[in-house]
Amino acid sequence: MTLISAHNLTKTYRLGRVDVPVLRGVDVNVERGEWLAVLGASGSGKSTLLHLLGGLDRPDKGSGSTIEFEGRSLADMSARELDRHRNTRVGFVFQFYHLLPELTVLENTALGSMIRYGRIGYRMKAGEVRKRANEILTEFGLEHRLRHRPAELSGGERQRTALARALMNAPDLLLADEPTGNLDRKTGDRILESIERFHKEHGQTIIMVTHDPLIAERADRCIRLVDGLAVDGADVDAEDHVALSS
C-alpha cells in the first residue's frame, strides 16, 4: 500500500537574480513499511526532496508537482493541517541533530507531544508522554541522559535523541537527512542499527537521504538524484561502487 507518492516534483531556488533548478520532475513512490534510500552528490537536491515530502517546503507553483500522503494531496492541506501533518504523521532527523539547546534530552524528545496536545491536553497526558519518552529513550540507550542538555551529550547521543524526538509521536514516515553524516563510522553504524531495528520491529516507513552507498545498502530500495531527476537504484549501485573504488 502506497504511503507517499510524489509526481513531477519541481523546485527552483533563486540565488540573487539567477534561478537555480534543484529538482526538475522527480517521481517517488514509497510503500508503507518500506525503507527508501536517496543517494546523490552534494547539492543534488536530496535534502530539498526530503523537505518537500515532509511538508516543510512546497514545490514550485504551477509546475504540476503533486505529493500525496495516503492519497491526500499535501497541496490541498491548510497551513494548520500541514503543521498537524508534520507533527503527527512525519518525523524528521537532521544531519546536525537540530536539538533545542535550552531543553533537556527528555524535553527535546517530548517537544512534538507538547505541540500535539497543547497546553491543557499536555497537562492531562503528561504522565503518558513522559512514559513513552522514557521508553523510547531507553530503547536508544539514553535512559541515563534524560536530564542532560544537548551540549553535555556526544554526537551519537545527540543524534539518538533527535531520532527519539522524531519517533516520539509514532509517525507513519521517518525522514532522515544524512543522520550519520556528522558522526564517525562506528557511531554512525550504531545509529543505523537503531533505525534498522525500528524499521524491522515496528515496520517503520523510512526515507533516508545519504551520499554513502554502503548505508544505502541497508535500505530496501535506492534511488539516486542526478541532474534534478530520480534515477532507479540499480544504476545507482553500479555508479557509486565505481566512484568508491576510484
Binding site: 516543510l56 498537524r84 537532521f94 507538547m114 499536555y122
Partner: protein, 500 residues
C-alpha cells in the same frame, strides 16, 4: 506548553532579557514617580487654592447682595450646604511701614468664625504656635516655636486687643508675601526681615462705589496686623489682605443705613416746644440693609462642588422670588464652583498642562523601553532562527512561534513593570529622606521650599495611576516584542534550519 517551557529557559541565565527587564523597571518607575509627585503637587495646590474660597461662591460684585443673612440662613438650612460665609472683595491700597511702601492689594472682608467654618482659615494662619521644629530647623530658629496662642485667636477673629482703649479693634490678616518682609528659608519656615510684620500697623485705603460703579469717596483707615496666612497659592499669598467684615462694610458704605427723604432741606430750621430753633431732622423713609459681594459655601460631606452649585442656584432663585426685586436678579448673579473662578481656572489649568507635558515627555522617553525590547527580541530571533526552524519542523504553527516570542515579551513586561512599581513605591514613600540626603550629600535641592512653598514633597501613589503605569509597561513590552514575533513566525522553516 512548549512556549511556557521555552520562555522560562530563555529568560533564565541570559543577560539580554535581564537588560530588557531593567529597561522596563526604569521606565515604569520613572513615569510613576513623576506622575505621583506631580499629581500630589497639583492636589496640594488644588486644596490650597480652594482654601480661601470654599467650594462654591455666590457673587455679585460692586453693588453687593443685600439681606445676605437671610440668604445664608436659607443656604445653611439645605442639607447639601455645610456652612456659608459672607465676604466682600474689593481692590485697595495698603501702606506698609517703612521701607515697605504702598501696595495695590485685593481686600477681602470676612467674618472670622463663619469664614473659618467654610475655609478652615484657622489652619492657614501662619503665626500660630507649633510643638516641634521642622526637621531641617536644627537651631530652632522658627519664630512659631515662640509665638503666643493669642496670635491665632486674633488672626481668626480679625480683632486685636488695644491696650490704650482696652477694647477689641478691627485688624487685618495679610498673605505671607504681601509685606515683602518675609523670606522662606531652606528649612521651610519663614524668616522675618526688617520687622516682624504682625506687630506693625498698616493703612488700608478703599474706594466706595455708587450703585453704578462710580467712585463716591476714598476711605482710609489704620489697622493693626493680627497675623499672616499662607494658602500655598502665590497669587493669593502675595496680594490678599483680609479685613474684619464689619470694618470693610463701613469703609465701602455697605453697612446697614437709614434712608431719608430725597428732597430733605438740610438748612431747614424748626422750633421746639420751648421756642428754641434747631435744624430740622430728616424723616427716615427706609432701612438700607448691609451688603456683601460674595457668599462662600462649603459642601456637606459627600457632596460635590458642582452639586452644591446647582442647589445654590436654585436656592438663590427662590430667595430672589421671596425678596421680590429687592436683591440682584438670579439670572445675573454668578454661582460658581471654586474651580470655575477665572483666576483659579487659569492657574490650575497651567499646572495641569505642565503635568500633562511632563508626563508626555517621560511617557515618550519610556517608549524607549518598547524599542529596547524590540531590539533585544530582534537579536534574539536572529539568534534563535534555527530553533524556529526546528519548532516548525516538529509541527509548531506560525501562530505558536509568534506566541512564543509575544509571551516572552509579556513576561518581560510583567516582571519589569512589577519591579518598576515596587521601586517607585519605595522611592515615592521615602522621597523626603532621599531628597534630604541628596541635599546634604550633593547640595541638590530639586524641590527647594524657597520656590515651591511646601516643606514636604507629596509622597502618595494612587493605585489607579499605578495600574495605568503597570498596564502601559506590559503593553509597551508587548508592542516591542510584536514585530520580531511576527517576523519569527514568517521565517521559512527550511531557511531557518540552514541558518548558521
Amino acid at each position: 506548553m512548549y512556549q511556557t517551557l521555552l520562555t522560562r529557559r530563555y529568560l533564565i541565565g541570559r543577560v539580554m532579557p535581564l537588560l530588557a527587564i531593567l529597561a522596563v523597571v526604569l521606565c515604569t518607575a520613572m513615569v510613576l514617580i513623576v506622575w505621583s509627585v506631580m499629581a500630589g503637587f497639583l492636589n496640594m495646590l488644588l486644596a490650597q487654592g480652594r482654601a480661601l474660597m470654599g467650594d462654591v461662591v455666590v457673587n455679585w460684585p460692586v453693588e453687593g447682595i443685600p439681606y445676605y443673612q437671610q440668604l445664608i440662613e436659607d443656604l445653611e438650612n439645605d442639607p447639601l450646604c455645610e456652612a456659608a460665609a459672607p465676604t466682600i472683595e474689593a481692590p485697595g491700597l495698603m501702606a506698609l511701614p517703612e521701607p515697605g511702601g504702598t501696595r495695590l492689594v485685593q481686600i477681602v472682608g470676612v467674618d472670622g468664625p463663619s469664614y473659618d467654618r467654610v475655609t478652615n482659615f484657622n489652619e492657614l494662619l501662619w503665626w500660630q504656635p507649633i510643638d516641634e521644629a521642622l526637621p531641617k530647623d536644627t537651631d530652632e530658629r522658627d519664630l512659631r516655636l515662640r509665638v503666643p496662642e493669642q496670635m491665632r485667636t486674633e488672626g481668626l477673629t480679625l480683632r486685636e486687643f488695644d491696650p490704650e482703649t482696652e477694647e477689641l479693634r478691627s485688624a487685618v490678616v495679610t498673605g505671607v508675601w504681601v509685606s515683602g518682609f518675609n523670606r522662606r528659608n531652606r528649612a521651610g519656615f519663614i524668616d522675618s526681615y526688617y520687622t516682624f510684620f504682625p506687630t506693625e500697623e498698616v493703612t488700608v485705603s478703599v474706594l466706595p462705589l455708587s450703585d453704578r460703579g462710580a467712585v463716591i469717596d476714598v476711605a482710609a483707615r489704620r489697622f493693626p496686623v493680627a497675623n499672616e496666612f499662607q494658602t500655598g497659592l502665590y497669587d493669593a499669598d502675595a496680594n490678599s489682605v483680609l479685613i474684619e467684615l464689619g470694618a470693610l462694610q463701613e469703609m465701602l458704605h455697605m453697612d446697614a443705613a437709614e434712608r431719608i427723604e430725597d428732597d430733605f432741606d438740610y438748612l431747614a430750621v424748626t422750633e421746639d416746644d420751648d421756642g428754641e430753633e434747631n435744624f430740622a431732622q430728616p424723616t427716615v423713609v427706609a432701612e438700607d440693609p448691609a451688603r456683601v459681594t460674595s457668599i462662600l459655601l462649603r459642601a456637606a460631606e459627600g457632596v460635590t462642588p458642582a452639586q452644591l452649585r446647582d442647589r445654590a442656584k436654585a436656592i438663590y432663585a427662590e430667595f430672589d422670588m421671596k425678596m421680590d426685586g429687592e436683591v440682584p436678579p438670579s439670572d445675573f448673579v454668578k454661582v460658581e464652583t471654586w474651580e470655575e473662578r477665572p483666576a483659579v481656572r487659569t492657574f490650575i489649568g497651567a499646572v495641569k498642562k505642565e503635568m500633562a507635558l511632563l508626563l508626555s515627555l517621560f511617557g515618550f522617553i519610556s517608549m524607549t523601553a518598547a524599542f529596547l525590547v524590540c531590539a533585544i527580541f530582534w537579536a534574539m530571533v536572529s539568534e534563535k532562527t534555527r530553533d524556529i526552524g526546528i519548532l516548525r519542523a516538529v509541527g509548531a504553527s506560525k501562530g505558536g512561534v509568534a506566541w512564543l516570542f509575544l509571551r516572552y515579551g509579556l513576561v518581560i513586561g510583567f516582571v519589569g513593570s512589577m519591579f518598576g512599581l515596587a521601586v517607585s513605591y519605595a522611592i515615592v514613600l521615602n522621597i523626603n529622606p532621599i531628597h534630604e540626603w541628596l541635599g546634604q550629600a550633593l547640595g541638590i535641592y530639586v524641590w527647594d521650599p524657597e520656590i515651591y512653598h511646601f516643606t514636604r514633597i507629596p509622597s502618595e501613589i494612587e493605585p489607579l495611576k499605578a495600574s495605568y503605569v503597570f498596564i502601559g509597561g506590559v503593553l509597551f513590552s508587548l508592542i516591542g516584542a510584536a514585530i520580531p514575533a511576527i517576523n519569527a513566525s514568517r521565517l521559512d522553516p527550511v531557511r531557518a534550519l540552514r541558518f548558521e
